[in-house]
């Protein structure tokens, strides 16, 4: 088989493939490490039983849904107290309850959100209205 102008096409194709996969080569071995949200705030350290509203796995996958449900219950239905499966009562408030323990927003919230490609200033836009905790950096 003979390719007309093969001496130009084949090197051209190779260069093209090289260029189009350049981002892959460029970033090879430079993958950002998976974030490890820090839970060692002073308040959490003092807790006898380190148990959030839901078990860790459920919170990790479903915290956004929980926050959304809490919002609806508080704002629409006026229900402000959440009784967890363990019978513990929580004040359903991001700004007054979640933050009380998780006062390290930059390590707890932002580390994952940034890793997932959600810029901290835009999505999720909790903190454009809710007041973020003061952190000692």
């Amino acid at each position: 088989m003979k390719i007309y102008n093969g001496d130009k096409i084949i090197p051209g194709l190779i260069i093209f493939l090289g260029l189009i996969t350049l981002p892959l080569w460029y970033n090879m071995g430079k993958a950002a490490p998976a974030p490890e949200p820090k839970l060692d705030t002073p308040v959490i350290q003092r807790l006898a039983e380190k148990q959030c509203v839901l078990p860790k796995g459920e919170m990790r996958t479903g915290h956004m849904q929980l926050l959304n449900d809490w919002r609806t219950e508080v704002v629409r239905n006026g229900k402000r107290v959440y009784v967890s499966k363990t019978g513990k009562e929580f004040n359903m408030s991001l700004q007054n309850e979640c933050i009380r323990c998780h006062s390290n927003k930059s390590q707890f919230c932002d580390s994952c959100h940034n890793y997932a490609g959600l810029p901290a200033s835009t999505t999720p836009y909790c903190w454009t209205c809710h007041i973020a905790p003061k952190e000692n950096k």
Partner: protein, 261 residues
């Protein structure tokens, strides 16, 4: 497989029984945790309202007293934009002719000259802002009649501002945070650019068993808050013993703020 009429009816009966037990199963499921409930210490009312005794405010209050306004705006992180067109107000002061435009007569001026009325959201019985809101961000709570906002849901269309005849609603034309000159109340959120805001009758304080911040801050006790449906409440006693006026009653919005003049 052949099914006899008899066995078919039997199975049908069993199925119906199963359906009938659904409500019972639901009730059982609801008792299980986790669950949500109202704060047991919350103030409970069927229809919150307010009586404002302007005489007390003018006679006993200090000249230029703005305690109620300041208390509210500090509590709710209300910004002070500094110009009338873009101002944000939850509770504010204005003159008689502006507050009660249909009722001013030629000679009212002598009696009421220069005196400011305390104005806030009327938490109407028939609120036009709720009717026009396309996203149901503004709604009227069935339990206690508070006209409330879900800021998360507000798209900033400002229909409610056009609908409200009392100018109780303000739009955030700018990012409000730089304009909050007092120290931020860390327990209450701010708003962001592009949402409307208004008085919420301190719904978050009622839920903790506290009266609204403006009522608490008024030293002469000119603001009285209470349940209009409860004949024994202080507001009903005041309404029974005083002649009161309401703002723009003729519009049929059913305002729930009453003024003793």
């Amino acid at each position: 497989m052949e099914t006899s009429r008899r066995s078919f009816l039997k199975a049908g009966g069993l199925c119906t029984l199963g359906l009938a037990s659904l409500p019972a199963a639901d009730a059982l499921a609801q008792a299980a945790l986790p669950k949500v409930m109202a704060n047991p210490t919350a103030l409970v009312g069927k229809k919150w309202g307010m009586v404002i005794d302007m005489k007390k405010c003018w006679e006993k209050g200090k000249e230029g007293c703005k305690d109620c306004v300041n208390a509210c705006h500090v509590t709710h992180n209300v910004p002070d934009i500094g110009n009338v067109k873009e101002e944000i107000k939850w509770i504010w002061q204005d003159e008689y002719e502006h507050a009660f435009p249909g009722q001013a007569t030629h000679y009212n001026e002598e009696f009421i000259h220069g005196k400011k009325f305390i104005l806030l959201c009327n938490h109407c019985t028939n609120p036009p802002c709720v009717r026009v809101c396309p996203t149901k961000a503004t709604f009227k709570r069935k339990e206690d009649g508070i006209v409330m906002m879900d800021f998360h849901r507000c798209i900033g269309c400002r229909f409610c501002m056009a609908g409200c005849p009392y100018a109780s609603r303000s739009f955030n034309f700018k990012e409000p945070r730089p304009f909050i000159k007092t120290e931020l109340n860390q327990t209450f959120p701010t708003r962001e650019r592009g949402v409307v805001e208004k008085c919420s009758f301190c719904e978050e304080r009622l839920a903790k068993g506290q009266i609204p911040a403006c009522v608490e801050a008024c030293k002469p006790g000119a603001l009285v808050f209470g349940d209009l449906e409860d004949p024994k409440s202080e507001v009903r006693k005041l309404l029974a013993s005083h002649y009161t006026i309401q703002r723009k009653l003729e519009l049929g919005t059913g305002p729930n703020i009453f003024y003793i003049v």
